[in-house]
């Protein structure tokens, strides 16, 4: 009986009971002296994720006047002020149309994520997918996608235009997926490969073995789609393979309790509540080494956010609400921006609260937040707002304001790809082809 309970889990249980979250001294023996690597020399994993909010910002109220560190906390940044020194602001980077029509709320996010405009014939993966392909291969999930608005179609992560990675919308479903019966506590004392997993893996190979014969049966276009199916199958096979090996210890992993079933939807309080639960689950999925990549959608492009008792959504407000003559901005639309920035702050708070060695989960992550437009009222995609949080295990210089001077926004995704080890020396199409990362934030 006792053999099933490690000293660690006893300690954790005791601490959880007391409501305390501190790094356990016991755990630090896994770490080297500066807390950035495991004692064996392997570095703590560096995670990558995106955080998306819809309908941009108001430049005059969001962009600080000075560049560099210690930037001014502008009115629209106030809700995340506590994290200023952990967040770099990337302003004045453009999604460039090259004469193509601006497809409202689509050209921005797709151009930003893929380095190419939609509808131009380029059918490219988003940078988060390319990054997950590199950093996600040794974790149970290549990446996790969540949306807080109740709609699985709210996702900007795509393998190709037709293969969008649908978002998980229910916290309970996400919990079950990560921490359900198939979860193996990386810190559990004993480990025995599950014969059921072995059997599942064995019968799955039966389908994989039919790949070549099936590929011959279909035309060229369908072959690509079938190949994507087999890539997905292969990924699950790898997940099963991982479950047959003893997982490496995860110093900060504390399995969360199952969230209560809740109704999800686009009403702002609902969205924020969903976001809180989703954030906790994502943070623990990262800390427990279940994934190293994630995509969080707080609100969708052309934001469906709404407040009970009003007849207009955030998106409608950005177009229809008059600019207050005295204040110089749209009061009601800005309410939703404030809530979005507050949620972004809360997201960072959750990651920063997880201790790993002498740093935090946020220190070992790179989280790229961005929107679909700059000024939503005009669907402007010049100066698409972006923020990068975390230190990426020491690779990133946080807390800087960088003015892109109208250079392509694809530089931001390119920077993320380079930092995360994607072998690329250029990225993007047409005027958004880039070869230079945003060096100001790179250590």
């Amino acid at each position: 009986m006792i053999s099933n309970l490690s000293r660690r889990s006893l300690l954790r249980t005791a601490l959880r009971g007391a409501g305390v979250t501190v790094a356990l001294p016991f755990l630090d023996c896994f770490l080297n002296d500066n807390g950035t690597a495991l004692a064996g020399g392997a570095a703590l994993p560096v995670r990558f994720g995106t955080w998306f909010w819809g309908c941009g910002m108001t430049a005059a109220r969001w962009i600080p006047k000075t560049v560099g560190p210690g930037y001014e906390v502008t009115p629209e940044l106030k809700p995340m002020a506590a994290y200023r020194d952990q967040v770099s602001l990337l302003t004045n980077f453009d999604v460039i149309l090259d004469g193509a029509p601006n497809m409202a709320h689509i050209s921005g996010p797709i151009g930003f994520r893929t380095g190419a405009l939609p509808g131009g014939g380029a059918d490219l993966p988003s940078f988060d997918v390319l990054i997950a392909d590199v950093i996600g291969v040794n974790s149970r999930f290549r990446s996790l996608e969540v949306a807080c608005t109740g709609d699985p179609k709210h996702s900007y992560s795509q393998r190709s235009a037709a293969v969008s990675n649908a978002s998980e919308t229910s916290p309970v479903a996400l919990y079950t997926r990560i921490f359900g019966p198939e979860f193996q506590d990386p810190n559990a004392g004993d480990f025995k490969p599950d014969p059921k997993v072995m059997l599942r893996k064995s019968v799955m190979s039966e389908v994989r073995n039919e790949r070549d014969a099936l590929m011959k049966r279909v035309g060229a276009a369908d072959r690509v789609r079938l190949d994507e199916y087999f890539t997905s199958l292969r990924q699950l096979e790898q997940q099963l393979e991982l479950q047959l090996q003893k997982p490496p210890p995860a110093v900060a992993c504390a399995v969360p309790s199952k969230p209560k079933d809740m109704e999800v939807g686009s009403e702002i309080e609902q969205v924020v509540a969903t976001h809180t639960l989703m954030t906790q689950l994502v943070a623990m999925a990262l800390a427990c080494n279940q994934t190293r990549a994630f995509n969080v959608v707080f609100s969708n492009s052309s934001s469906v956010l709404r407040k009970n008792g009003t007849n207009t959504t955030h998106h409608q407000l950005t177009h229809e609400e008059p600019v207050d003559e005295k204040l110089g901005y749209q009061l009601e639309a800005t309410y939703f921006l404030d809530r979005s920035m507050a949620a972004w702050g809360a997201f960072l708070e959750t990651l920063a609260a997880v201790r790993e060695g002498d740093g935090t989960l946020l220190d070992n992550s790179m989280v790229l937040a961005h929107s679909c437009t700059s000024y939503a009222k005009t669907h402007a995609i010049e100066g698409l707002p972006a923020m990068i949080a975390g230190k990426a295990g020491g690779r990133l210089r946080p807390g800087c304001h960088v003015d892109g001077n109208g250079t392509p926004a694809s530089r931001i995704g390119f920077t993320a790809m380079q930092l995360m080890g994607v072998p690329a020396d250029r990225w993007g199409q047409k005027s958004m082809t880039v070869t230079k990362p945003v060096n100001e934030i790179v250590v």
Partner: protein, 550 residues
Amino acid sequence: MTRGVGRRFAFALVAAGMLALAGCWQDDAPPTKGGPVVMRRLSEEQYRQSIADIFGSDIKVAGRFEPDVRKNGLLAVGASAVTVTPSGFEQSDGRAIAIAAQVVDKDHRDTRAPCRPASVTAADDACAAQFLRHYGRLLFRHPMGEARLRQRVGDANRATAVTGDFYSGLAYALAPMLYSPEFLFRMETSEPDPEHPGVARLDGFSKASRLSFLLWNTTPDDALLTAAEQGDLDTRKGISRQVDRMLASPRLESGVRAFLTDFLGFDEFDTLAKDPVLYPAFNQRVAGDAREQVLRTAIDQLVTRDGDYRDLFATRRTFLTRSLGPVYNVPVRAETGWEPHAFPADDPRAGLLTEVGFTALHAHPGRSSPTLRGKAIRELILCEPVPAPPANVNFALVQDTTNPRFRTARDRLTAHRAEPTCAGCHKIMDPVGLALENFDALGAYRVTENGAPIDASGDLDGMKFTDPAGLGKAMHDNPATVSCLVGSLYRYATGRAIDKAEQPWQRWLEQRFAADGYRVPTLLRRIATSDAFFAVAPETQPLPAKEAMK
């Protein structure tokens, strides 16, 4: 190189051959060259219905399905473009394991397995083979080859050796069949047409699937697979026999429902929300009933009564539930279930467009939207795409919904249309959308907005009307209403866009539809028994199943 040229030459010959000979079956149908074989991902409904038909409706199907994609106006066309993503595969795997476990559990095994093992704790080659052969044929919609069957029996035996349980061994072998591409996708294969050398057609099993998913929205039943096995579907007579059997079945309703659900964009109901403060009468039950009301009204008109499709836009007949009563301001006697209802002749409600399932679906959470409604009518029901709005829209004139000068949506949109960049598209959408302004965001009737009377007059492509019922009449008489239905149904049936070369055939189908009294089951029969439906365009012929899947 030489081979490539030779093939292209052969294709040219084949194309010429097709033109010469297709179309002699249905009296005067113009020839078509057909289209490519398509690989469609099963929709959630098709997956669920297939499982219910194959294993029984008491087998639970759990978990999240990947969202469908709308292409050329239809999810059925998008199904030919989507694939299975990593998280989608993960869901498929979990679902497959759960279904397989139910099929062999103690409650189901005796009625679902076609045989009993000699011992429940040991492998039984013969029984496992019988079980897997039976379900393989139904799941893959064609018989499973003997070599592949042996491999799966081997899987079952190996698993039984580990678990010490015959039935759990079966479940391990069954689960991969439930996430196999042959089940998750409808993989079609072509074969040379023996009647016309050099021309290709779908093979019998692919024909069986096309017929079954079109007419019943589910996997082919045993009779249809048997017809394919016996070569009955290689003959027009054999196809006609099956089509008539399927059209006569009550399951035709599922097929027509599935088409209407896709055609009317009812997937949007999944995320429909109304502001609970402004519209306290709205809840998920009302939403569900509103969706069902439209489908019920349509099935009654199109299938039960075998009536004129165009009358759907003018009919006064519908069905109501208790929860819909308050929205329609009609007392509903039935405490549960549906009650037929006829709106009186002077009632503003007439036809599908005045039902809550249309007006509430195409509106904002907090207010009505003539633009969204106009766009839905144009794009969904008339197949006329509306261009996307320009990115930099000037809302200066209409931004203030409390402006005493612009109290109604018509006032605001009229002002908006003064902007030249907006006028082009709004001229297409607004006159039809404004005709439904008597219905608020929930679809409840109203005569004023912000205290000003609502003017519901307008015109549709030159036909003037003064109220919602008039819009219904104009829709009834509009030729685009008919051509859109015919084109959509054909795209739905084939899972692809209509080729330019197929347009004469489509025109012919429209003329037949008119001559047949605009009856949808007859239109389905014309499509399902046509050569065009099964013709395979020569430039896209993958290897036939028999050669590729030995």
